[in-house]
């Protein structure tokens, strides 16, 4: 692939896809941990009270 005249385009495509996918994963996982931290502040009894949705 290193001899291909268009290898820069191929690498750029894979780099962009990797950045977008990793950003989606990081955004969702960090959102989850921040929500868990906030919910912990209300304690377990409050969590049960809000179980209805």
């Amino acid at each position: 692939m290193e001899h291909d005249p268009h290898s820069g385009f191929i690498l750029a495509a894979y780099a962009i896809a990797a950045v977008v996918i990793v950003s989606m994963i990081v955004a969702i996982v960090s959102d989850y941990w921040s929500l868990k931290r906030s919910l912990k502040r209300f304690g377990a009894s409050g969590t049960r009270e809000a179980d209805r949705g």
């Binding site: 692939m1 291909d4 896809a17 996918i21 929500l35 919910l39 209300f42 409050g46 969590t47």
Partner: protein, 255 residues
Amino acid sequence: MLRYANPANFLRLAAALIPPLAALTLVLLAVGLWLAFLAPADYQQGETVKIMYLHVPAAWLAMFVYSVMSVSALGTLVWRHPVADAAQKAAAPLGAGFTFICLATGSLWGKPMWGTWWVWDARLTSVLVLFLLYLGLIALWQTFEDQGRAARAAAILTLVGVVNIPIIHFSVEWWNTLHQPASVFRMGGPTISAPLLWPLLIMALAFTFLFLTLHLMAIRNEILRRRLRRLSILAASAAERDEAEIPSAATVARG
């Protein structure tokens, strides 16, 4: 099925499904990328054909995610179900992400093969419209304080926008476009040879499982966010009640 439409049951199901789905996604991505790396060069496009292993799965997912959102929109409008609302909201950023990958990799594939980054032909323009629809839906969710109203408004916009999906799919047949016609799912079978087709199918499966995993995780986040909002409201109203009781107790003590 309806049992899991209950948010508490859904959280238990998500907790059980997310780890194996994430592991399967990782394995499929690793195998797909390895096969894509080993796949032979195309006789016309050379190694540039390797962009296909990202572009085509991203394009399929861009349309698949919108279809999932449309089904969720029906769940919101017909059954007014909170998990359907969460599924709609959680899918929009993922759809935007896959559509962006499709547009960016398509542009990077187009420049060396077509000699241009972009043309305003039917396929490219309709996919750009899909990307703008996703961005519009994400913005719409942020506009409303009341998430129930946001869900209904987003559901209507999603169902209006679903007309774009067959336009994207059939654009290469209905109009003269620079984009090639369908070469995998078509009458008469795929036109791609097996050594190039297998890595493509495995990458498509990997992208599909990636979406399913991230979607489950994002729906779980939305359910937790609603729970947090409910708890904040309960805490605020309890604090208000306490504040109202203290002056009245003071009045009783004085009397």
